[in-house]
């Protein structure tokens, strides 16, 4: 909280780092490695050809619905995304105001921080049985787990972001008489949106685990179900899909951060 100068420590939001290095060489190495492992393990782990073919099949029929244990990958993804979305939304609804409050108020920070620090290391999955007992519903319990997952990072990052707004940015806001809205849009939101992006990343990782436990629907369940059915190509294909969706979510937040902070949305 002692940043005095404007010269920003980090001038732009961190890039994803996809463009760096020799992309083609990396791809070839990765695929060769995978193929070798697949061959060495004889049948246990399928190679890239088989997995990618399965990926194609899965994506070709995304929305079929043949009963509770057999749904298309698109349906499963939609369910997972919906849970993440709802949980994340409510975590932001609670976490951002709470974070702003404790970021601006030293005593509130002292009061709340120990509680947050104690609850934060508890794996969100540990709460799952509790919420199952409370709600008696897989889906609602999963949403609550996501809520708790996203809540702590949102609170802490928002507090850190709001608390570390440099003095000279506040002065600019004071001199040029920024209204509440302008202050929010140009100074406060850009400083907290990075925290939201991190929360979203964690939420997407946890939903897979929750759904593996909850055995019902969702992409995590799909992975677990495929494993139980000894369908390893589907497992590997799902891993690729989960990665791609996570990447898209992250990109979306990067876009959002840029749109907000450059003042383009006028």
């Amino acid at each position: 909280m002692t940043i005095a100068q404007d010269a920003p420590v980090r001038t732009r939001f961190p890039k994803l780092g996809l463009g760096g290095g020799d992309g083609r060489a990396r791809q070839v190495a990765l695929t060769l490695g995978w193929a070798t492992v697949g061959a060495a393990g004889a049948t246990a782990i399928p190679g890239p050809v088989e997995s990618l073919r399965r990926l194609g099949t899965l994506l070709w029929y995304p929305f079929y619905d043949l009963g509770p244990n057999d749904k298309g990958i698109g349906r499963q993804l939609a369910l997972s995304l919906q849970r993440v979305g709802i949980g994340f939304f409510f975590a932001s609804l609670v976490g951002i105001p709470l974070g702003l409050f404790i970021g601006a108020n030293r005593r509130a920070w002292m009061a709340i921080n120990p509680v947050v620090q104690m609850l934060r290391p508890v794996s969100p999955l540990a709460w799952f049985p509790i919420w199952l007992v409370v709600f008696r519903d897989n889906s609602q319990a999963a949403i609550l787990v996501i809520f708790m997952t996203a809540l702590w990072p949102t609170v802490l990052n928002t507090a850190a972001g709001a608390g570390s707004i440099p003095e000279n940015q506040r002065r600019v806001a004071a001199v040029f008489k920024f209204g509440r809205l302008a202050y929010l849009r140009h100074i406060l939101v850009p400083s907290i949106v990075t925290g939201l992006r991190l929360s979203m990343g964690i939420a997407w990782m946890v939903i897979v685990a929750v759904e593996m436990l909850s055995s019902g629907t969702g992409i995590g369940f799909f992975v677990w179900n495929s494993y139980n059915a000894d369908d390893m190509p589907s497992v590997l294909a799902s891993v690729l899909i989960i990665g791609a969706v996570g990447l898209l979510l992250d990109l979306g937040f990067l876009r959002l951060a840029k749109a907000v902070s450059l003042g383009k949305a006028t």
Partner: protein, 259 residues
């Protein structure tokens, strides 16, 4: 006219349980068309009147800065800071546009854009308008800050050691640009109040120089008028001598042995 009468300001010093009297009765008068410099040693409190005047970040103990004269719509003052204080995640254009929009909410979008473009062009930054502050040099960043202040079209322009962080060549250039802007553009800004510790800067730019002293003496040691034509950067002959004489006089007030 900008008039400050008997302005006091103290900061408590909790460690030594004393009070630091930073401003000890400051009287100040700036007339329309005047460029006023506040000069003094570090810690004499020369920035404090501005800090009070601009945004009530610090409240005065007693006394009041007051603008006397007709009212006009729009804000009274805008400020250029020593550290450029541009918002780091916005382009230069957005920095100027959003500040002007916040300070002048009654302008239409088109009016605001026109003013913003005019001043960004005036400081030679229109080509670089989409760059972010970190992507440009210190001189360019400070030019953007100057454009931002002018784009508000304030009656009083406050400058707090605006060129202190720049190298000598850039500083000289920006000083000339500032004077050009203020004098030749059709600006609404009537008065400029600049805080500086540069003797040369004060003598080259100001019409009137307020010399401030350290505690426990009085805050305002003396007020000195500089009656020289503008654009003093390249003064020759008799005027050049008068210019140097003014510098010597100022050095005397500040109790610095003349070189």
């Amino acid at each position: 006219m900008l008039k400050v009468t008997d302005l006091h300001k103290s900061f408590p010093d909790p460690k030594r349980r004393t009070t630091q009297h930073v401003l000890r009765g400051v009287d100040l008068e700036v007339h329309p068309g005047q460029f006023c410099c506040l000069i003094g040693h570090s810690g004499c409190g020369k920035s404090t009147p501005q800090h009070h005047g601009r945004a009530r970040c610090t409240r005065p103990g007693a006394g009041h800065p007051r603008r006397v004269g007709g009212h006009r719509a729009g804000p009274d003052r805008a400020m250029v800071f020593q550290g450029y204080s541009l918002l780091p995640r916005m382009s230069l254009l957005a920095n100027v546009r959003e500040a002007a929009r916040a300070a002048r909410p009654n302008r239409t979008k088109a009016e605001n854009d026109a003013v913003v473009e005019r001043y960004l062009r005036a400081v030679g930054l229109w080509e670089a308008k989409d760059k972010r502050p970190a992507q440009v040099s210190g001189g360019m960043a400070q030019r953007a800050a100057v454009a931002r202040a002018f784009a508000v079209q304030p009656r009083v322009l406050l400058l707090d050691e605006p060129f202190g962080a720049l190298d000598a060549l850039t500083r000289r250039k920006l000083q000339a640009e500032l004077m050009d802007l203020w004098q030749h553009e059709e600006v609404e800004t009537e008065m400029v109040v600049m805080v500086t510790h540069g003797i040369e800067e004060a003598v080259s730019l100001a019409d009137t120089i307020v010399i401030m002293g350290n505690p426990p003496g009085p805050s305002v040691v003396s007020v000195m008028d500089v009656a020289l034509p503008r654009s003093r950067i390249e003064l020759e002959g008799a005027q050049g001598i008068a210019h140097r004489a003014a510098q010597q006089q100022l050095l005397g007030y500040l109790e610095i042995p003349a070189a």
